[in-house]
Symmetry: D5
Subunit: 120 residues, 10 copies
C-alpha cells in the first residue's frame, strides 16, 4: 500500500458554480497508525465545503483516505494535512474538517480545522 | 415511468400570505440511479420554505419525487435541480433543501442548497 | 362534539408580569381530519410564548384542541388558526407554534408560525 | 430493468460445512411497487440462515433484490417468494426472512417466514 | 362516523397457506374515548398472527380501527373486542394483540390478549 | 395525607374472565420516604397481572400509590407490601411487580416480586 | 414537613470570583402539589448561573427543594419563586431556571425564567 | 484507604423470606487498578440475587466496593472475589454478578459469574 | 505487518476453574481486506467463552486481531478461522464469536459461529 | 499516588501554529474525592482549546488527571484548578473546560470555565 499523496484526489467541475451550497462527506472508516507505538488509530472524518470551480470525486477521496491505513502520524498532523491536500486540489470557497478519533487510554480526541470564510 | 418534470408539481394559494411562516417537508423515501453504475441511490430530502403566493401541493410533490426513481444523476445535480424546479413553480420567499444520501463505499454525502433570503 | 371555537379558551392573570419568561406547552395528542379525504391526521403541537397580562389555562387549552378532533382543515390552516385564536385571547408579547404532523404517503410535514417579537 | 428471477442468484461453496453456523444479511434498501396503486413500497429485509453445501454470494443477492424495484407484488407474496428462491438455489439447513415494510396509511407491516429446522 | 363493526373488515386468501408464517401489523394512531369522562384515549396497537385460509386486508383494518374514534370503551374491553372481531373474520391459527395506551394520570397501561396456539 | 391502606383500592369485574390475558400498568411517579434518613425515594413501578374475577381500577390504584408519598419504608418492604395488597384485593391468577428505584449513593436498586403461576 | 423558605438555602464564597464561569445544577426529582386538585406534580429543574460573591451549597439546595413536596402552587409561580429565592440569597451575575414538568392530561409544560445579563 | 475485606459488608434480615424474589443492584462507579500497569480500571457491576435469610445492606456494599479503589487485580479475579464475599456473608439462594469494564486498547470485557440455582 | 498466526495468542491460567463463568470480549476495531477487491472491511467482533484451564490474554488477543489488518479473506472464513485459533490455543468448554461487518453495497452481514456446549 | 501537580503535564510544539483550529479532548473517567465526606466523585471532563505555540501531550494529561484520584476538592475548585494548570503550561489562545459530575443526592452538577477569547 502506498503513502498518502494528494495526486490520488480527482476532481470534477462544480455543476452549479453560481450558487454557494454545502457538500458534506462523512467517512466513518478512517484508520492510520500511531507514530509512537505503531498501534492503529480509528476515526470519523466529516468534511464539509462550498466548492468554487471544482468538487472532489468521492471514489478518489476514498482511495486517498485509505492511503493513511499504514501511515504513521499524530491526530493534529493528519487532520491538517488532509485539509491542506483538499485545499490544494479543489481550492474551495470554504472547507471544514472534523476528525473524531476513538478513545485511547480512556481519552477521546477531536480535531477541527477550517479554511476560508463561510458566507453566512 | 416518466422522467422528472416540474409540470408534475401542483400548487395552491398560500392561505396566510401576510405572515412569514415555515413549512417543512421531509421525504425519507427518495431514490434515484447513479449515472455511472446504474445502481440505486437512496436519500432523505428535507425541504423547508417560506411561501409567497403559492404553496406546493404534497401529493404532487410525492409524484414529482417518484419520477427520479429510474432517473440517473449525481447527488449535487439532483439536489440543485429539485431546488430550481420548486423555485420555478412556487417562487417562494426563501427555500432550503437538505439531501442526505445513504452511504456508498462506506462514505456518506449530504448536499445543502438554499435560495432567497430568510428574514430572520 | 363541537367545532373549534376560541371562546373555549380560558385565561388567568400572569403572576409575574414584570418579568419576560417563557412558557412552553407540548400537546402530543392533537388530531384533526383531512378535508379532502376525511381521514384523520395526527400531530404534535409545541406552543411557546411570553405572556403579557394573561396566560391561557391548560385544561381549557386541552378542551379547545380536542374540538379539532372531528374538524376538517389543512395543516397550514390549522396551525395559523390556533395561533390567531391564542393571540386573540391572551395577547402575548411573543408566541410561536410548531405543528409536526405524522407522515402521510411517506412524507412528513411541519408548520412553524410566529407572532410578535421575542426580546433576544 | 428486469423482473425478479432466481437465476440472478450466485452461490459459492460453504467453506466450513461441518459446522452449523449462522450468516445474517440485512438489506435496508429494498423497494418494490404496490400492485394495486403502482406506488413504491420500501422495506428492510433481514435474512439469516445456516448453509449446507452452498452460500449465496452477496453481490448477486443485491442484484437479485434490485430486480424487485419496478415489480408489483403484495408484502406477503414478496417475502415468501424471496424465501422460495433462496431455498431453491442454496438449499440451506435453515433459513428465516423478516421483511419490515415502512408505514402506509399510518400502519406498519412486517412479514416473517421460515424454512427448515434450526438445530437447538 | 359509524360505530366499530366487524363487517368493515375485508379479507383475502392467504397466498401461502401451507406455510406457518407471521404477519405483524403496527397501528400507532389508534384513538377511542373514555366511557367515563368522554376524553380521548390514544394507543399503539400491535397485531401479530399466523393466517390460516384468510388474511385481513390492511386498508379495511385501518377503516375498522378508525370506527373507534368516537366510540367509548375501557382499555380491556377495546382490546378483547378487536381480538374477537379479527378471529371471527379471519379465523387465524394464532393471533396476539398488544395495545399500549398513552399515560393517564401519570400511569401507563398495556393490555395483551392472545388466541390459539403458536406452533413454536 | 393518609398512610397506605389496601381499602383505597377499588375493583371492577374482569370483562373477559374466560381468557387469560395480561394487563400491564406502569407508574413512573412513585415516591416514598427512607425510614432511616427521612429523605425521599423515587421509583418506577411496573405491575403486570392476569386477572381472575376482578381487575383493580386505575384511579384508585393511583390514589393508593400516592399514600406512600409521606410513608417511610425500605425498598424490599414497599414492593412486597404492594404485592400483598393487590393480591388481597383482586386475587389474580398471576401478578408480578418490578420496582426500579432511582440511584442513591451512586447505586441503583430494583426489586422484583411475583405471585401465582403464569400459564405460559 | 415545612413550607418552602429561602432561609434553608446556605451559601459559600465563590472560590474564583474574578472569572465568569457557569455552574449548572439539574434536580430531576422535584415534586410539588397542584393547588386545585391536591394531586402531585413532578418535574426536572435545571438551574444554571454565574456566581458573583456567593455560590449556593448543594445539600441545602436539595433540602430547600424538598420543602415543596407537600406545598401547593402552579407551575409558573413555583418556578418564579425559586428564581426569586436564589437571587435573594446568592445575588448572582446571571441565573436561569428551566422547569420541565411531566405531562398532565396528555399535555407537557416547561417554564423558563431568567435574571440578570449573561456576558457574551 | 483499606484493602477489600468482606467484613465491611453488613446484612439485615430478609423481610419476606417465604417468597423467592429478586433484588438487583447496579453500581456504575466501580473502579480498581490494573495489577500490571497500575492504571485505573472502571466498570459497571450488576448484582442480582434471591436472598435466603439475609440481605446485604446497600451502604455497606458501597463502602466495600470502594475498598477496590486502590487495589490491583485482574477482571476475572475481581468479579469472582466479589461473588465469593457476597456468598460468604449473605448465603443467598441464587446470585449472579455481571461486571462490564470500560474499553482498554479498544477492547471491552465483561465477566459474568453465578452461584446457586435460580428457581424457575 | 505480519499475517495472522495463532502463536501470537498468549494465555494465562483460569483463576477459578471450578466455576463455569462467562468472559465476553468486544473488539469494535477489527479490520481486514476483501480478497476480491483489496478494499478494507470493518467489523465488530464479540467473543464470549467459558474457559476450562486457560484464558486468552487480552493484549495478545489485540495483537493477534491486528494481524488481519492487511490480510485478505471473506467474512465467513475470517470468523471461522478466529474461532479455530482460539479453540486450539485455549481449549474452552464453550465459545461463540459474533462478527458484525459494516455495510458494503448497502448490505450488512453478520457471521455467528460456536464451539462446544454451553451448560445452560 | 501523588497529588495533582502541573509539572506532570508535558507539551509538544503546535505543528500548525499559523492556523486557528480546535482540539477537543474528552476524559470520561475522571474521579476525585469529596473533601467533606471522603466519598469518591466521578465526572466527564471535556477540554477544548485553540493552541498557540504548545499542545499538551495526551498521555501526560491522562497521568495528570489521575493524580486527582485520591485528592479531595469541591467541583468548582477542581475545574478551575485544571483550567489554571493547562493555561500555565500551554498558554493557549482560547480554552474551555466543561466538567459534568455524576449525580449526588439525586442532583447533578456541571461546571463550565473558559479562558481567552475564541476568534469566532
Amino acid at each position: 500500500m502506498t503513502e498518502p499523496c494528494r495526486d490520488t484526489l480527482e476532481t470534477f467541475e462544480n455543476p452549479f458554480p453560481d450558487r454557494d451550497y454545502l457538500i458534506e462527506t462523512v467517512a466513518p472508516e478512517f484508520t492510520s497508525l500511531c507514530p509512537k507505538t505503531g498501534q492503529p488509530d480509528y476515526g470519523v472524518l466529516t468534511i464539509v465545503y462550498i466548492a468554487d470551480k471544482l468538487c472532489y470525486e468521492l471514489k478518489s477521496l476514498k482511495m486517498y483516505l485509505q492511503e493513511f491505513r499504514n501511515h504513521g502520524a499524530f491526530y493534529e498532523r493528519v487532520t491538517n494535512t488532509i485539509l491542506d491536500d483538499l485545499v490544494a486540489v479543489t481550492n474551495p470557497r470554504w472547507i471544514k474538517i472534523e476528525a473524531a478519533f476513538t478513545p485511547r487510554g480512556g481519552i477521546r480526541t477531536t480535531v477541527i480545522v477550517e479554511h476560508g470564510k463561510k458566507s453566512n
